[in-house]
């Protein structure tokens, strides 16, 4: 049983999506995360175990390698795709409540800003950390965040901004969220964002990379 979990983890870490995907070349014609996750469930492996012992540790390795610049954005995207192909088989168990995720995370790029790469990477890594991610997309204003929080009041919120001119909108959103949901935690990130700015606008956490965000959430959940 451990062997199949290890193989799923390998596929996720190195971006082997399914049998037909040509990458990485040394895993050509082998089963990918898709087939292996399906088979693991058929063989009676619990969905929790797939999540906890294959997907989450594999994505943590990916995040750590990215932080250390051992891998780059395209590799991370391949890993996320492989993770998603395995995760798809777990969705029914999430929906039935048989498998619980660690919590909910609402993310969006703030109003006026259309950059989505950083936001997407963080969303993928957090999903790979075992969280349910509600991705509001780009150009998201305070109202939309509040509406999402109305539906998921216990969610943690993530804000992304890539421009010095749009990061100011983070402040407005943080104020609006904290006013209505004073207990909610907000983390922020993006090229121009700094820890000082995070403190200044009253957000709870700043991370320079996706794995930092995953680790922060992990700490909140424990």
């Amino acid at each position: 049983m451990n062997e199949i979990l290890n193989r799923i983890a390998q596929c996720v870490e190195f971006g082997k999506i399914n049998k037909t995907s040509p990458y990485p070349p040394n895993m050509k014609d082998q089963d990918g995360a898709d087939e292996l996750a399906k088979r693991a469930l058929e063989e009676g492996v619990k969905p929790d175990e797939i999540l906890e012992n294959a997907l989450i540790p594999a994505m943590a390795n990916v995040g750590n390698k990215f932080s250390k610049k051992e891998i780059y954005v395209p590799q991370m995207l391949m890993s996320a795709k492989a993770m998603n192909s395995a995760m798809a088989h777990l969705k029914p168990f999430f929906q039935s409540g048989e498998t619980k995720r660690k919590g909910k995370f609402i993310i969006g790029t703030v109003s006026g800003d259309l950059h989505d790469i950083g936001k997407n990477l963080v969303a993928m890594m957090i999903e790979g950390g075992g969280w349910e991610v509600i991705d509001l997309g780009v150009d998201v204003g305070a109202e939309k965040f509040l509406k999402a929080l109305d539906e998921h009041p216990d969610a943690i919120v993530g804000l992304s901004a890539l421009l010095t001119t749009t990061m100011e909108n983070m402040k407005k959103i943080v104020m609006a969220v904290k006013e209505k949901f004073s207990a909610s935690k907000i983390l922020i990130g993006g090229a121009p964002v700094t820890r000082e700015y995070c403190d200044k606008i009253g957000a709870d956490f700043y991370s320079p990379d996706p794995q930092g965000a995953v680790n922060y959430l992990k700490q909140l959940a424990s």
Partner: protein, 279 residues
Amino acid sequence: MKTILRGKTNDVIIDTNGPVIIIGECINPTRRKKLISTLQEGNFDYVLELAESQIKAGADVLDVNIGFPGVDDVKLLPETVLAIIGSFDIPLCLDSPNPKAIEAALKVAGGKCLINSVNGEEKSLKVLLSIAKEYEAAIIGLTMDDDGITHDPEKRLAIAEKILERAVKAGIKEEDVIIDPLAMAVSADSKACVVTLETIRLIHQKLGLNITMGASNISFGLPGRDDLNSVFMSLAILNGLTCPIANPEKITAAVRASDLVLGKDDFAVRFVEYFQNRK
């Protein structure tokens, strides 16, 4: 097609048939904490340092972006412009999402500036075209509109056509419209650069306008960024890019080499001069 920009007295001609003009991107607070802290103190020494080093490295025009949280850009953008034109005779590209700041800067700038940027959104067209007309500035038209960003080169071309049409209707000369085809990170989408290159080709072919782009971010999230940027720059120039916004310290060599290869540098004068001066 020739777009003429002007500093105090110095004309810079962006010519669709001429050598590439470099718009220096470095007066921009992203990842430059020192720029923010010095500007907050009303100290323009660092801005002038950035201006000088970029001009030395080959910048023909300087982009001026002083956007950071809490800034009063209606006050600071014109102050920064005055500081730069007090020391350098070079055309400026005024880079702000706030039309009021752009207008305040145009009031003091003199010469002939470039506005960075107008896009296809109604709101943007309405406000900025009349400002550009009033101060006789040239504009950069970003190929995105109320529907956001499209990945279809034909649609980006259509937005460029719309901006051009609206600008001409507002009394702006055709040659004073420069189009930005949008350059996005190739790490997240392997077709991103091809879409940009195709958009450049279409705009060059169908509209014949000058073309700019923010050319440093296509390599985001990848190793070998300078090499990647240089190659993309050369291909974009081949397709019709005429005035990239980039870091001259990193891109001038590729630009001069492209001009030479494409037959726009007789006797390799500019190419040789660049490398001689760099020694």
